[in-house]
């Protein structure tokens, strides 16, 4: 398959891009932020997403979704990134769906149709500390009655305080098990924190949370593969969103170079800035190709996907970071102001960079996967 969007995908982009730009431009984020919105996203916007079928893009058709792939989800995520749209799309419609679809069974039947119908927001409770270390999960699930009892602390749980269900990764006797923990579960508390990009992420405490045996997503002790599917999808999605963030920042900056005059010239005439902008263009193009390759390999169910997902998260992380840093710098003094949007791009990039493994984590993974 060639590494560019086919006609259907191009059509999807043509409908999603103007929709997000009109309904949820950066001013939408500002409005939520300035009103200290407690949800973290707009439910009205989510209803509009639902009308377009977007929450269920990756949900298999037999569960009421569109049965599309990561390439398609990436198109939506890029626009979300470009417009800095606060949205539960990544955790709910990408990460959670990947895990549930991979696992099948009761929980898939329960939640996938609800996600596709826009009725359920799902949070991913994986991380437990400041850094992403999915191989060191300390939260435990011990057998209790005909179910399990969960104990532990989770952090960086986006939408954790409003989620209808949280996917909790816990250690069981023989491995990792994923649990679908409903919102009202006794003993689970979510303490939302406002992050630098104005999003809300919770510290979640699991204090003897009792769940039934059928809360298990997939099989007991066999959550490793499902967690891998969740992580691969979410990392690739975050990378796609970062491509959008980087592209948005770059476009804004290149436009500014063609407007701002100093020394009697447009600053875009100075070669010192031209070369940096051109270098950034190359990095962004490479990041975009890399993310598409990861999406394609995931959609094909290919062996090579694991490596490419880490490459994509790292490369998109580097490129978007360069875009926002150059963006602020090339805007001069106004780049430092809250009134100007470029700083918001820098903030969102920082949060996405950290989510599900930062550049350093994924470069280390690349080394390990290559035997060193």
């Amino acid at each position: 398959m060639p590494l560019y969007h086919n006609d259907d995908q191009a059509m999807l982009k043509d409908s999603v891009a103007p929709f997000v730009a009109e309904q949820a431009p950066v001013s939408h984020l500002r409005k939520l932020r300035d009103s200290s919105d407690a949800t973290g996203f707009s439910r009205d916007l989510w209803a509009q997403f639902t009308e377009m079928g977007l929450p269920g893009m990756l949900v298999p058709e037999e569960h009421g979704g569109l049965g599309m792939g990561h390439l398609e989800a990436g198109i939506v995520l890029e626009e979300i990134g470009r417009n800095l749209t606060p949205s539960p799309f990544l955790s709910t419609s990408v990460g959670a769906v990947a895990a549930l679809a991979k696992a099948g069974g009761t929980q898939a039947g329960r939640w996938l149709p609800a996600i596709a119908g826009g009725e359920a927001i799902v949070a991913l409770a994986i991380d437990e500390g400041a850094k992403h270390r999915p191989d060191r999960i300390a939260t435990t699930a011990t057998r209790s009655g005909n179910g399990f009892r969960l104990n532990g602390k989770k952090s960086f749980v986006l939408h954790g305080h409003v989620a209808d269900m949280s996917i909790v990764a816990a250690k069981t006797d023989g491995g990792i098990t994923l649990f679908a923990v409903p919102k009202d579960a006794k003993g689970m508390t979510a303490d939302p924190r406002r992050l630098v990009d104005s999003s809300l992420a919770s510290h979640v405490t699991l204090d003897g949370v009792e769940v039934d045996a059928d809360a298990v997503i997939g099989e007991v002790d066999a959550g490793g593969d499902i967690l891998d599917a969740l992580l691969a999808a979410t990392r690739t999605g975050a990378a796609a969103e970062m491509v959008g963030v980087g592209q948005g920042a770059m476009d804004m900056t290149v436009t500014y170079l063609k407007e701002r005059k100093q020394f009697g010239k447009l600053i875009g005439e100075f070669q010192g800035l031209q070369h940096r902008a051109a270098h950034l263009y190359g990095e962004m193009e490479v990041a975009r190709a890399t993310v598409m390759k990861a999406q394609q390999l995931l959609d094909e169910g290919s062996e090579g996907a694991r490596l490419m997902v880490s490459v994509a998260k790292a490369k998109a992380g580097r490129a978007a970071n360069l875009a926002v840093r150059e963006g602020v710098q090339m805007h001069g003094g106004i780049g430092m102001t809250d009134e100007y949007d470029i700083g918001l791009y820098m903030k969102r990039d920082r949060a996405l960079a950290e989510y599900m493994g930062d550049v350093h984590y994924h470069i280390d993974q690349v080394a390990r996967m290559n035997g060193y």
């Binding site: 190359g282 490479v286 390759k293 470069i363 390990r368 290559n370």
Partner: protein, 398 residues
């Protein structure tokens, strides 16, 4: 899709049956490359046989039309063909400036007669071409070139130009049979006063003088033209409009130097040194900062490989920005230079040896030095950035 699968099966079977085992060994040095041409001596029987078999199928230039010596493959088939070649690590049967540079220019600008004649010779590996662009006073600023062709009407010997001047950095000028050469034919018009000429390097008045490089090798020359007679019909495109051809050709040259398609050959540099540098108890390369740099580099290589695939898919189907080969060249060559810095670091003192047998005649050091030219030849990195700024980002005054 199933058509493509059938094609893959066919190519796979053909390669299995026809690619000699010796031609599946990695290319170690210049000597292993088949350049073709009148003066070329095959290294062994396998190299000759591999070329002949590919020529017969049109596989030296698989995506050229069959009428001009190619196999007439579609972009999708070409991609499959390359994947299958890579799968068995088959060496390219033939490499040449004719294939990479002149061929694409002739396909676009040549007359039917020129295509049949010159492209056929290139496809069969009969004529080796060199590139006469750069001059001492015209490097990055190529359009300032001064080599001049004076028109002479000659009812007896035929109308011709008399060419005088000199070129520099002409790669393999001493080994090539013919040259494609930029010659000024109108001194009053800078851009529309250049003609893209083709002539035999054995013409009277052509001489070459090799230049020694920092790598200790001497792959290129100064080339002098002293009253060289070039028949009036040996040009491509239109008289005085050679700049259009020259620029188009540079696009292909940059695509080739970028290693766009070949990005897939670059293997993990960290994996390369896992053995010699050793691993610690955690299975990590036992030199933590070097490991980190190598891993960051490998990440960029895998990313660039995807870029190469996407670029090729778009380039071959007319979807790419026409200036995007400049971006590919910039990113690809800077990456290759970084790779060789890491190879030198990984090799340590051993990699410094210049002529010992163990170092295969200083192969690593010489390659490292050679790669420094990647971001100069075919247009420098700075010029690539200028072109991106101007043609892709549309920045003012660039």
């Amino acid at each position: 899709m199933s058509n493509l699968d059938a094609f893959r099966a066919e190519v796979r079977a053909w390669l299995e049956a026809n690619c000699p085992p010796e031609m599946r060994e990695p290319v170690r040095d210049e000597d292993d490359i088949c350049w073709g041409g009148r003066k070329f001596e095959f290294k062994n029987a396998a190299q000759k046989q591999w070329l002949e078999r590919c020529v017969e199928k049109g596989y030296t230039v698989p995506d050229w039309p069959t009428a001009y010596g190619g196999a007439g493959l579609t972009p999708e088939q070409t991609k499959v063909f390359k994947q299958e070649m890579a799968r068995i690590k088959a060496r390219p049967p033939l490499q040449s400036f004719g294939i990479w540079m002149l061929g694409p220019a002739l396909l676009k600008f040549g007359t039917e007669e020129q295509k049949v004649h010159y492209l056929g010779q290139i496809a069969r590996g009969e004529i080796r071409w060199c590139q006469g662009y750069s001059e001492p006073g015209a490097g990055s600023d190529l359009v300032s070139l001064q080599t001049f062709g004076e028109e002479v009407t000659d009812p007896v010997g035929g109308d011709h130009w008399v060419v005088n001047g000199s070129k520099i950095w002409t790669s393999y000028a001493d080994k090539a049979d013919w040259i494609f050469c930029l010659v000024r034919t109108d001194k009053t018009n800078k851009y529309q006063g250049i003609t893209f000429m083709l002539f035999d390097m054995e013409s009277e008045g052509v001489s070459t003088k090799p230049i020694l490089l920092i790598s200790g090798n001497s792959p290129f020359c100064e080339t002098f033209f002293d009253d060289v007679k070039v028949p009036k019909d040996q040009f491509v495109g239109e008289v005085n409009r050679g700049w259009d051809v020259a620029k188009y050709l540079l696009g292909h040259e940059r695509e080739m130097i970028s290693g766009g398609g070949a990005g897939g050959d670059m293997i993990s540099v960290g994996a390369l040194f896992a053995k010699s540098l050793g691993l610690n108890a955690n299975g990590e390369l036992d030199d933590p900062i070097l490991r980190a740099e190598m891993a960051a580099f490998d990440t960029d290589v895998f990313a660039y490989r995807a870029m190469g695939e996407r670029f090729m898919d778009m380039w071959k189907t007319g979807r790419a920005h026409p200036a995007s080969s400049n971006m590919m060249k910039y990113v690809g060559t800077e990456l290759n230079k970084r790779r060789h810095e890491l190879v030198m670091a990984g090799g340590g003192a051993d990699a410094l040896e210049w002529d010992s047998d163990e170092s295969k005649g200083g192969a690593r050091a010489r390659s490292w030095l050679r790669t420094k030219a990647n971001s100069i030849e075919g247009g420098t990195s700075e010029v690539m950035l200028n072109v991106i700024a101007k043609r892709i980002l549309d920045l003012p005054g660039a």
